[in-house]
Amino acid sequence: MQVSLFVTCLVDQLRPEVGQATLALLEHAGCTVNFNPSQTCCGQPACNAGYEGEAQQVARHTMDVLAGDDPIVVPSGSCAAQLKHYADLFDAEDPDHARAVALAPRVHELSAFLVDQMNYDASGASFEGTLTWHDACHTLRELGVKDQPRHLLGQVAGAQLVEAPECETCCGFGGTFAIKMPEISVAMSDRKLDEIIALGVDSIVSTDISCLMQLGGRLISRGSNIRALHLAEILAP
C-alpha cells in the first residue's frame, strides 16, 4: 500500500528518530512510504491561538503538499485531528472547504492505521521494562483511539503495560496554553506525574510528541529518570 507520511514539525525538528522509527514501522508493515519534504506544520498553533487567517494559510499549503488519494499517516493524534478538522477553518462556499472535506478521511493516526488498516503484528519488537500509556486528549477524544496502542504494546516482547488510573487526564500542554499559562500547565503535569512516579514504571509512552515534550521536560526538571517515549520507538522493528 502507498502511504503519505506527515511527520509533523515537532518530530521533524526535535525528535527525528521518531520519524525514522515511524518510517521503518510503516515499511515493515508493507507500505511504500512517500514523504514530501515540502511539508511544514499542520497549523494547529495558529488555530489554537485564534489566528484564523494564519491557520488557513498553513492549512492550504499542507493540503497542497498532501494532494492525492493515498492514506496519510501521522505519528501524532493531535496533528492528525487538526488535519481532519481543516474544514472547520473555511466557509462552506470556499473551494478549500471541499478540499478539506476530501482530505479528512485519508488522515490516520499511526497506531490506528497499523491496527485498523494494516492488521499489524508487533510481536517482532522487544522492550525491556514497565511502561504506562498516556491517552493524549486529541487521540482519545477527537479520534476515539484508545485500544489500538494498547493492543500493539501487548504484543511487544518484554514490555509490561501498567495502567495509570488518570491515563486520560490532560498532561497540561494544550499548545500555546503551555506558554501562556505556564504555571497551570506545569501543575497539571505534576498531577499526572505524581501518580506515574508512584506507579514505579520505567517509561511513559504516547503517540503525541507534544505531550511527551511536556511530560518529558517536566520529568527532567523534577530529576526523575522515567523516560517519555513515542510509541513508534517501542514498536520499531
Binding site: 484564523e52 496554553f177 506545569v186
Partner: protein, 481 residues
Amino acid sequence: MSKKDPAIAELTANDFGPASRRALQDAPLRRALAKATNTFKGRREAALDEMPDWEALRTHGRAIKDETLSRLPHHLTRFIEQATAKGTQVHFAQDRAEACAWIGDLAERLEAKTVVKSKSMMTEEIGLNHALEARGLYPVETDLGEWIIQLAGETPSHIIVPAIHKSRESVAKLFEERLGAEPDLDAVRLTQLAREILRTSFLEAELGISGVNFAIAETGSFLVLENEGNARLTTSLPRVHVAIMGIEKLLPRWSDLETFLRLLPRSGTGQHLTSYQSIFTGPKRNPGDEGPDEMHVLILDNGRTDILADEVTRETLACIRCGACLNVCPVYAQVGGHSYGSVYPGPIGAILTPQLAGADQATPLPGASSLCGACRDVCPVKIDIPRILLHQRREVTRKLPWRAPFERLGFWVWARMASSPRLWRIGTYLIRPFVRFAGGSNLLSRGFCRLIPPLAAWSGGRSLPTPAKKSFRQQYEESRP
C-alpha cells in the same frame, strides 16, 4: 466612570492570570479541590455505569433544548399564559439593575424584615444580595454551602457546590469566630448549628426567593431541585415566593422532565434523583392550603437574547448548570472557581462569562483551557465547549488585534514560513542552534533563555527540548538521494 456595568456582578475575570497563580500557591485550597472534584467525578461515573442508554439520553436532552431555543418566544408566551392562568404573576427584567430593583421594591412593599433565599445562580449573576443590602435588606442564604459562603463574606466557587473550596476545618474555624461555636466541631455538629440558626429565619421570613431548574411551557409550572429541604421551606413558609429564571430555563412539555430529571442529578452529584424535587404551579388556592399567598416568576434576559442570536455560540444556552464540566476540568481542579473572577467558573464559565459580559471583560478566559475536551465528553447536553473556546479566541484576536502585538507578529512570520518550504527550511535551520543554546545549563544560556519570552515561559518548570542536529527531512534526503 464610563465603564459599563457588566452583566455579571463583581466581575474580575480579567485578573485570571494573577488570581490563578495565587491559587496555585494555596496548598489547602488545592487539597480541598482535588478531594471534592474526584469525589463528584467518581460518583458520576458510578451512576452512569447503570445507564446503558446514557448516550441516547444526552442526544435526546440536547434535541429538546435545541427545539426550545429555536422557538423560544413561542414557548415563553405559552409559559406566561399557563402560569398566569394558574395564579402565578409573571414579570420580565431586561438586565440585572432592573431585576434587583424590582425585587427590592417588592420586599419594601411587603415590609419584609427577613428574606430567605435558596440556592440560585441567577441571583449570584445579578448580585442580588448586595443590591438588597444596599437598600437595608439582609437576605439569608439557606443552602448550607451558600450560608457558609455568606457568613465568610465570600462568593461561591462552584455552581452546585458553592463552598467546595472550604475544608471542614476552615468551616469549623469560621463558625467559632463568627458564631461563637465550640472549636473544631465535626460535620454533624456544624450542620446542626446551621439548622438551628436557619430555622428562625425560615419562621420569620415574609419573602422567599428561589431559582428555577426547569420551567414547563405546557403547564406553566416550574421545578426546583435540591438536597437539603431548604428550598422547600424557602418556597412554602413565607407569604410570598419569588422565583428567578433566565429565559433559557424553559422546556416545552411536562414529559420532557423525564429526560432532564435523569440527566441532571446524575451529571451533577451522581445521584439518581435529588432528595427533593419541588414543582410549583401557582400559589395556594384556598385559605386552608399550604404554600405562599403570592407566587411570582421573574424572567430575566440579562444578555441572553444576544447569545441566542449568535448561531455559533447559541448552544451555550442549552446548559442545565449541572457542574459536571467543572468536576472533570483539569484546569479548574488546579486553580479553583475564584480564579475565574466570575460567578460562573470552569469550562461553562469560560464560555458563558465573555458572552454575558463582553469579550473585553473576560479576555483571559477563552485561553484558560488546554482544550482537552473532557468537559464536552461529560456535558449532559453535549455542549461543544472546546469549539466555542476556539471561536472566542478568534474573536479576541479579531476584536482586540493589538492586545498581544508580539504574538501577532510572531504568528504572521510563522505562517509565512510554514507556507513556503524554502523559508521553512532556512528558518528552522537558523532557529535550531539558538534553541539548543538556550537549553544549555551554563549561565550564558540561561540568561539568553530568559530574554526570549516563550522559551522563558517554557523553561520555568520544564527542561527545554533539544532540537536535533539534523532534522528528519535532512536525514531523509541524505539517506534517499
